[in-house]
Subunit: 352 residues, 2 copies
């Protein structure tokens, strides 16, 4: 029983015009509140109320065809949708888009699908006449953006444009790491170890740089015996921590490359009979969704600004679109967004 679901024939601007006894021009002007146009208040009211009564729903496809803008922006994620972080980026982008009355169209390219597939994906977005494209990648290597992206304003998340022509946003991992070290130093630690990831990605470099900078700013000399590495998972953190803790003059704190490695550090500490944080302080990186808060004791770590990067991307994109279409490719410096320290319970104050 299709209750009141009689098939309602689509009502268009024409129907509104007819019902209101005006031209479609007038309806369009009224509904869009076109400036510099003259329509009596009476007519405006009539048009508006009739449009409402008729249940008029504008057709944005038609509108887009005429105005040559779709009010859509494309989010091209490269493998990233697979990572737990992806949701935050998408959410940030989506909410910022909503704020600007834009809609987000997303496509995920598999990393191993090759450059051709990625170009096809970009093209698909462009065929849809998106006003701009966000290209988000997992590791911020330098990247040469698919040339189709030149056809349309674009911004990069998590990667640098090799030609330096496309605006990019990245997490400022180094500063985050340095802040974390500063936090440890403030708590009285001076023998601070670093369990880095053994695979070479920009994050590895950035966090190491930040660690060293943190030490330097505290006037603590670098000690390479306090730097270990392992695979960027619990197992790697376990082994690296064992190595770091298995000596006379053991560190009082371990800074792990990421939260997963920190989990390994927790295990190592437990096996050595060291309580966290009193026996050993441990910090991580990533503030990975449920881990950091669920573990005991809750892990002090650094959050990545995924949401913020997503939002930044669509914000800059809209600026780009607004600005003269000939100037948007002006060379820009990448934007580094801060990675805030998330204070929890895995760091103890120690007496110096």
């Amino acid at each position: 029983m299709p209750d009141e679901d009689v098939v309602v024939p689509k009502v268009g601007i024409r129907d509104v015009a007819r019902a209101a006894g005006v031209s479609v021009t007038t309806v369009s002007h009224v509904l869009n509140e076109t400036p510099h146009t003259r329509t009596s208040e009476a007519t405006r009211d009539r048009v508006r109320s009739i449009a409402r009564d008729l249940g008029y729903t504008p057709n944005r496809l038609a509108r887009g065809l005429r105005t040559r803008t779709s009010d859509m922006i494309g989010l091209l994620t490269e493998e990233i949708a697979t990572t737990p972080h992806a949701g935050r980026i998408i959410l940030g982008a989506q909410e910022e888009a909503s704020r600007h009355n834009l809609t987000l169209a997303i496509i995920n390219s598999h990393l191993d699908a090759g450059a051709d597939a990625r170009r096809a994906d970009a093209r698909a977005l462009i065929e849809r006449q998106v006003d701009g494209i966000i290209y988000a990648t997992v590791f911020h290597h330098e990247v040469s953006v698919p040339r189709e992206l030149r056809a349309v304003p674009a911004v990069l998340i998590g990667a640098l444009d090799r030609q330096g022509v496309v605006p990019a946003v990245l997490p400022d991992e180094a500063s985050g790491a340095a802040d974390l070290v500063a936090l440890l130093v403030d708590a009285g630690h001076r023998r601070i170890a670093f369990a880095n990831s053994s695979i070479e990605v920009p994050a590895t470099q950035g966090r190491l740089v930040g660690y060293l900078r943190g030490l330097e700013e505290a006037g603590i000399p670098r000690d390479d015996r306090l730097i270990a590495s392992g695979v960027s998972e619990a197992a790697g953190g376990y082994e690296a921590s064992l190595e770091l803790l298995d000596r006379e003059d053991r560190p009082t704190a371990i800074f792990c490359y990421n939260d997963r490695m920190a989990m390994g550090a927790y295990r190592a500490a437990q096996e050595l009979g060291l309580r966290i944080p009193d026996g050993i302080s441990i910090v991580g990186f990533d503030d990975q969704a449920p881990i950091a808060a669920s573990v005991y004791p809750a892990l002090t770590t650094v959050a990545l600004p995924h949401y913020e990067m997503g939002a930044w991307a669509v914000a800059t994109l809209t600026r780009l679109v607004q600005s003269s279409s000939t100037s948007w490719y002006r060379s820009t410096h990448p934007t580094w967004l801060p990675c805030p320290v998330v204070l929890r319970e895995s760091v103890a104050q120690i007496n110096r």
Copy 2:
């Protein structure tokens, strides 16, 4: 220096036609491989190669206007984008959409934004002429779908339509839970506790039902002293586990409502000096991204079919769209997708 970035005027189907010396009709037919149309092989080749050379990019807005279909499907998530699971749903939907040559437009509604906001979001998608809408919610309460959704084929993820008119897909939590219990039973356990969540959501009910069914199928009598509950986080799991383990005849296994609570159980076990899995076996639910695999010992748990639900949703939606537009609202049973057990290391074989 805008290298070869001279502003290329958009090339349309008309330009291709002119260059090829044929009509736009022919170009359209050739490029779309319209069936039942006759064009010589020579002309086809010419058109295709000219289109390629000119870099013709079809305008899907215009196409959609004419064909009255946008090849877009809308994903309306209600708060869900905030949860770590969201990414998987989106990914599943996206990849299935790609397979059908569709694009996914997503909008996230905040739960607290109220029904009006959600209706506005639905309307925004409809204005974009999406061919169908997926409405995904966090908790699968029954839900009365925004009436705007009646205007367009729709499917539900994680919720039931109160009117029973919109197809819905849900995780079969009960069976997953029963499987988990069966696994424990197979390993020799008979005193199996359940640490449930204290808040009332469908999942609470479903997992409890599955737990009980698992026991029954194993011929183990229900023992309510083995059922505890707490907040659905590490803290709640900790307290519930303490309560369950603090007795003479303690259980040999604890089934936790979710992985976060399982983390609490791990802590409780540790404090009581029970090794996992030998002293006590622990299982969770959700297979929450990095937790379950990173913890030591790795947690045996049950995965939710988020990806599969996303994919199912767009698959059914495309079927709905294809089928006669008058029949798509036929009443349907909800689809329950299996929650597979993920075997890891937190369960020990014990001798009966």
